[in-house]
Symmetry: C2
Subunit: 284 residues, 2 copies
């Protein structure tokens, strides 16, 4: 699968590539950004950090406002910023709400019509996109991959990590939807993509349900702002994940950051820490 490079932008000594490619699993063209740090070369490939964005976002938000390139450049880590859903499938209702359909793929493979037509962000992020990237870009080391994300993308990062033991060297998240089966955003998404009667499927994509089944030790870093309105409204529920982790004897370090909100001002403040966390494992 080949990529079209629609732009190359210098950033922190490296290159931010604006990419587009045809996806078979989403049945659409998918856009993304790839940051190659200055250390990247085909003779010495660099490890890779996936950043999964949240509701309403594209691959641009993190690249423009997340400040991940700052530390990734220093550490020699590539960053992949994918989009958050297929776009333009022309499914009735796909653009009706900010928290379902376009920009709200939830990093699952839909089982319910008509969303099965292309709402397969789980397969896209875990299989098709990395395979395409690692075969196309010799500067990337496909054996050293970590994952992080924000909000819906934090849910994505946690669940992709927990469903695929060993696939990712580490995981972290900013204000993740930590127990989607129990919050309005998750109920709407899982009900729509899986069906309300398919609760076993819900559990397969819920970090709080998954953590006890994970066979390995964990070292999960999570930041949540105490001024985050979505945290206050019970959309994120990091306490539920903490409790499940404690019961399961898994390490989940939730840092409650005083007064921070849900925005990229919050993410950019702590992105250095999350790249450092990934670097500890990617560069070990």
């Amino acid at each position: 699968m080949s990529f079209e490079t629609t732009g190359t932008i210098n950033s922190f000594g490296g290159k931010l590539l604006k990419l587009a490619h045809e996806s078979k699993v989403t049945n659409t063209q998918m856009k993304l950004n790839l940051y190659l740090p200055p250390q990247a070369s085909s003779s010495k490939p660099v490890p890779v950090l996936f950043y999964l964005a949240g509701l309403t976002c594209t691959g641009d938000n993190g690249a423009e406002k997340g400040f991940f390139q700052h530390k990734a450049s220093e550490k020699g880590i590539a960053v992949v910023y994918p989009d958050t859903s297929p776009r333009g499938l022309n499914i009735p209702g796909e653009d009706d709400s900010y928290d379902f359909g376009s920009a709200a793929g939830f990093y699952i493979d839909a089982t319910k019509e008509p969303w099965t037509k292309g709402y397969n962000m789980y397969s896209y992020i875990t299989k098709e996109l990395p395979e395409a990237l690692f075969s196309h870009f010799e500067e990337l080391d496909g054996n050293r991959v970590s994952i992080t994300g924000h909000s819906m993308g934090g849910h994505g990062a946690l669940t992709l990590y927990l469903r695929n033991p060993g696939k990712y060297k580490s995981v972290s998240a900013f204000a993740p939807i930590s127990n989607p089966s129990k919050c309005p955003w998750g109920e709407k998404a899982f009900g729509g993509y899986f069906g309300d009667d398919n609760k076993s499927k819900w559990a397969e994509h819920d970090a709080t349900e998954l953590i006890s089944k994970f066979p390995n030790d964990t070292d999960i870093l999570i930041d949540v702002g105490t001024g985050d309105n979505f945290y206050k409204q019970g959309q994120l529920l990091p306490e539920n994940l903490e409790e499940a982790a404690k019961k399961a004897g898994k390490k989940v370090n939730v840092r409650y950051q005083d007064g921070y909100d849900h925005s990229y001002f919050f993410i950019s403040t702590f992105s250095d820490d999350h790249v450092e966390h990934a670097a500890k494992y990617l560069l070990a």
Copy 2:
């Protein structure tokens, strides 16, 4: 003059205040962002860096994508992000082009009708806004102020510094319009705000003309990307400023950054350096 605080956002350990106030010199409400670093207190006021944005921008672009807060937080420097023009004066033609009128105030006081009605960004940035800020916010030290800016805002930073010896402790610029009298953007702006027959006024707001008249030593830091299309098109002309500075025996350090463009990816890569440059003088 009092400010309305429409938002308070945590960022890099400090607070980003979203402010609005009524301006007498622009005859409009003006919005801006003010970053207070964690060190700011009324008992120990912090120095202040003004960041002037470029064409099409507001005070939000630098605050969201410039990452000045990263180093400003470490150094204990406040950052002011003003808007780039009055908005909504209802002057015919004010919204017709991206490089004149709204978001294109050029940091001058217009002498030509109808722009005299409020296009007075020179007086706004040098007098009204700092006086209002320093009387309202006891956390700010009005005796330690530096200035920087991008493109049109780089022109603003350079000319405000050079026209007001001693007012600013230091100046730097990203891809500044360095010789506006000799480039299309400047000719259009100065012709429109001053008149084509008022060339002496043009010279009073042209860094390349001003530098030989500046009474003190200078230490001006400028970054320009060699991949910047506006540089290639002759809108920026940093070479003219370099040559004038050389003749006048003034220090202007223009760093031509290989392959960088005109965007905030360029600015964010070097904003740490520009805050460091200001800190050298503000914290001396």
